[in-house]
Assembly symmetry: C2
Homo-oligomer: 250 residues x 2
Amino acid sequence: MIKRRKNPVEMIHTEPNLCSTDLRLHILHGVPFFASLEHTKIEEINQQIHEKGFKPGDYLYFAGDPADSLFIIAEGRVKLLRHTTAGKDVMLDLLIPGEFFGGLSTSSSSTYLETAQALTSVCALSISREGFRTILNQHPAVGIQVLDLVAARLEAAHDTIHQLSAQTAEQRIAATLLMLAAKLGEPHEVGLLIQTPLSRDELAEMTATTPETASRVISQFQRDGWIATGRKWIALIRLEELLQTAEMKV
Amino acid sequence: MIKRRKNPVEMIHTEPNLCSTDLRLHILHGVPFFASLEHTKIEEINQQIHEKGFKPGDYLYFAGDPADSLFIIAEGRVKLLRHTTAGKDVMLDLLIPGEFFGGLSTSSSSTYLETAQALTSVCALSISREGFRTILNQHPAVGIQVLDLVAARLEAAHDTIHQLSAQTAEQRIAATLLMLAAKLGEPHEVGLLIQTPLSRDELAEMTATTPETASRVISQFQRDGWIATGRKWIALIRLEELLQTAEMKV
DNA sequence: GCAATTATCTGATCCATATCATGGACTGAA
DNA sequence: TTCAGTCCATGATATGGATCAGATAATTGC
């Protein structure tokens, strides 16, 4: 019987409301769509940026709130959720430092459609929609890079629609683990560790399954030796087998 | 027993390769992201545009083809498909005149991820990716409008993910009929006619169901008096009941 | 006008996963 | 160290929809 290990996921320790100026500038420089800007431009942008800290479980905003700000994660992890009227949550994205979310809603939709919730301690930077629009007008190269990133998200959403339409729960879970490892994976003695807290509930939210189904599949993957896992953590060991499962013909 | 009617959907008669210059300029003026450009600019853009005609069933391009052009539909209807290895098609979008598709793939994906297929006779305009990028660089307002349109598509894709994750086949079909009526609906004596050829197979492709399930649900909606339907056509009669079905708690 | 083909409808059966329930293990606070 | 709360694992049962099959109706081509 495989003995469960202590949770190897590092809990990110950010004091709420403690984003240093150095961290902000470091993050802003690292944001892909500002990469084409000069240092002085980024410092100008920094003047328009607000910052806020959140504890795990805190909500950055709710669906239905006025969509007046764009957010960028400086530290921590955030999930974007849509709620059903039956109370079931669907996780649309798990975001990491440097990623933006929130105020891209078009003018025809003046409220947030998703809810943003902190998975860990989070420091988030925000800029008003007007401020962001001004940057887009003044710097076409920024607009093109944002367009490329949103187009890439649209392709990823189409991947998900494809999976949900034609794949089994096991295939979707295998594919999701591989996607998370590509995004958040860190080599660790237990395997390629997905470096974020990840409960069976959250995995179910991402794969259109229930916690019970996620638990059955994850347990089977562990018995097969493909992953190592415990409470709120998963590390991949046999990526090749997971890849074959994800791509298997139905 | 409800007697089936002759197909009220008008078959669009476009001679392949016969987009008049008038039609081209009319369409280019109507494209939302060119709305901010002056007439002389649009005529300049018209110089870079190629046109091509397609018969129903023809493929504009296949998944895996080099992604070198952006397309705009001048006339007709096009569907975007992703194929599974098991041969099941998933329809991601049904596009109408004025809508663009194709060459927004980011540089990390140099081939088309979807297949584009003509549902009717189609006249399509195309411009190279380089040409389109030049327009974006020269006209920031165009880039911002394209960004808004792609962001709106991302929201629609998230809607679909939400539906696929948490709704029944009947709810998804009701929601899809309403979406199609909002996009393509024309008042007709049979009801609000979805003005495109639409078989049970195609409806199944859009709703992650099978043609048999689509047929059962559509027959039930007709028996309930909510729609009128026949071979390859559907008209909505009781939109309120369909809306309630789509939003019903699971 | 008729035959062939295509599209739709309906029935029977099967299955993947949800639902409901229970027990065990781990974590954190007192 | 203990206990309450949370998370996970597993079993039994129910169900929505897929699969397979056959019949009927509409359309198209000769």
